[in-house]
Symmetry: C2
Subunit: 375 residues, 2 copies
């Protein structure tokens, strides 16, 4: 099946759609759990499917280094290698490379970096990012973009945005040569917090032409209102008939607010990473399960939740598992957090269909504002 996107319902700027990929459909707005190295930490594929995960994000940087894209290709591609039959999106590897800071230099060619594992030198170019993802055989590949540090001044942001635009062309040209069967490629809009740059980036990315468009370079430390404004403006400059993907964001509140501004796709490590650290997202706010106040608390983590963890575990038990370093703490907390995220998106989709997204959004924030955040 080739890539497609069909909007089925709209409510204000929020929209519900079906995104078709080579490995099946994804109902949007959708959240993509992060399976960095080909696995979501602490949760099996079986559990992910039962939670309703429709698409997985895997990190090209990690898979390129271990086990290597060539090895994955010899196994028949990423789906067969990891045994995940639904859609997979791979990032370009750029974000991880740029995060290496001391270990990388950027020029027009690409990003020169040293592996965090063994210090070996590598060069990631727009072409190579397309090549690797073609070998991985993901359903959706991302272009290599330049990820700017925040804050940056407008001149630096312009130079970076322009380089990203040139790289987008190179990445697309190579992609069209090497793409795996029915693979789609998403372009990425950059431009930091400067609306004019965002607008120009959107126009230049759309001009290259991709199956869909992502918004990169947000959730990097800018004020939340600035992020929401940039999202709101950028989605308006992107075509209505293509998915819009807000990369690496965010809190449950961020997801609801971004859907209200026309975003369709999300990924974030918050539910999984915070779960491993003992922080649980609930309908009444976040709780830190390691807190001593939960030692004798027989309530489930989220009384309003029907996930396996909430059906079978008390806060007291989860605190005990976390305090004693049990692997199951990571599993049970992550199961709950992913359920919270995926269920929030399911509620969002339903609210859009019934044209009550605004009342859902209001109730969602009201519920969270009753929260008693743990210290």
């Amino acid at each position: 099946m080739s890539f497609g996107f069909r909007v089925t319902d709209t409510d204000g700027r929020a929209r519900r759609a079906v995104m078709s990929t080579a490995h099946g459909d994804v109902e949007t707005p959708a959240f993509m759990p992060v399976g960095t190295q080909g696995a979501v930490k602490g949760v099996t594929h079986r559990d992910l499917e039962s939670l309703g995960a429709q698409i997985l994000l895997c990190n090209t940087y990690h898979l390129y280094l271990r086990p290597g894209d060539d090895l994955v290709a010899r196994r028949g591609g990423l789906h067969r290698f990891i045994g995940w039959t639904k859609p997979i999106l791979t990032d370009s590897g750029g974000y991880q490379v740029f995060s290496l800071s001391a270990r990388r230099t950027i020029d027009e060619d690409g990003a020169h970096f040293r592996s965090h594992l063994d210090g070996s030198p590598h060069l990631l170019t727009p072409e190579k990012a397309s090549d690797i993802q073609a070998r991985l055989g993901s359903d959706i590949a991302m272009v290599l973009d330049e990820c700017l540090e925040h804050p940056s001044n407008e001149a630096a942001a312009r130079l970076s945005m322009e380089r990203t635009a040139r790289w987008a062309r190179r990445a697309r040209d190579r992609f069209l040569e090497v793409r795996s069967a029915d693979q789609a490629q998403f372009g990425i809009v950059q431009g930091s917090v400067f609306p004019e740059l965002r607008k120009e980036s959107a126009e230049r990315t759309v001009e290259v032409g991709f199956e869909a468009y992502a918004i990169g370079g947000l959730s990097v430390g800018e004020p939340i209102d600035v992020m929401y404004d940039i999202v709101s403006q950028t989605t308006a400059w992107l075509p209505d008939d293509r998915p819009r993907y807000l990369m690496g964001t965010g809190t449950p509140e961020d997801l609801v607010e971004s859907v209200a501004r026309g975003v369709d796709l999300f990924d974030c490590v918050l539910p999984t990473r915070n779960g491993r650290n003992g922080q649980l997202f609930t309908s009444e706010g976040r709780i830190n399960i390691k807190n001593a106040r939960y030692a004798e608390d027989d309530r489930p983590p989220d009384p309003g939740c029907g996930c396996y963890t909430c059906r079978t575990c008390s806060r007291a038990y989860l605190r005990h598992l976390f305090a004693t370093g049990e692997i199951n703490a990571a599993t049970l907390n992550t199961l709950h957090n992913l359920n919270f995220y995926l269920d929030t998106l399911r509620q969002i989709r339903e609210a859009i269909t019934f044209r009550r997204f605004e009342s859902f959004r209001l109730a969602f924030h009201q519920s969270l504002s009753r929260q008693s955040l743990d210290p």
Copy 2:
């Protein structure tokens, strides 16, 4: 329901039975996964149940220190605290305390030890072990026995066996006062590798009178033939109408050989601990999944196995998960190993019912002898 044991089939000295406990029946011969701190490392209760686990072993030493037996009692007991509705056996805490070596001293009163967590001083007596397990509310409690180091000479083994016998009386007396509803208590036969001492220990333990009898102090370094001989002789001195539990043993081969000698119950950390370390038990022997030879091996870990791991994961993927330190490596390896153990016991029970245990035993060892053990 009160404790019971009903033998339904015998084949040679092997027997199949139903052991009834306050939380339901256990079909024996049975293997008890070890849930040290109230959780089997890396595997949720849901997974354990789907694997066919009928009874869990939890460690009194660990639960006494964290979260504390008082806290567990306030939660309504161990079953409610950890959310496991089937039977639970608790050990006495003795084995862990004796393993602390430098941090403990033993006298007639009991074992004085310092916590491995904070160095705090504690005294574990036969009475206290009964008290703690009553508060935990396990279905089966174990008496506190003295665990002798191996090798020991016969004089030392005699003194230790005699102390264990005196402790058994004290543990039983206290148990009868404090037991939780329908809790059963198993006595433990000691006596090292000396048949005369084992015989006397069995007689003295039976004289005290317990719901069932365990064989302790084996799998501690003695030659395998010696262990099998001691097991064979000891079971003969124990009553036919009570379960026999070989503590802390062993390999799959040990289980088959011990069933042939009249043992009904087993527990061991091998399937779980080895799973976390990357060693998988298969019908053709053990494999170390971290071995480079599996990097491009698309076969399941055990081609003859139908578990979730073998149905969905290649050796190449499991090696990748282990090499990259993914939590899922522990989960998937442990799932497979527990399935191997539990399925072996299921096959044993079936073989006994159809009176073909000897041919099963022969085929089992032949299959393993075809193994190409990893270096």
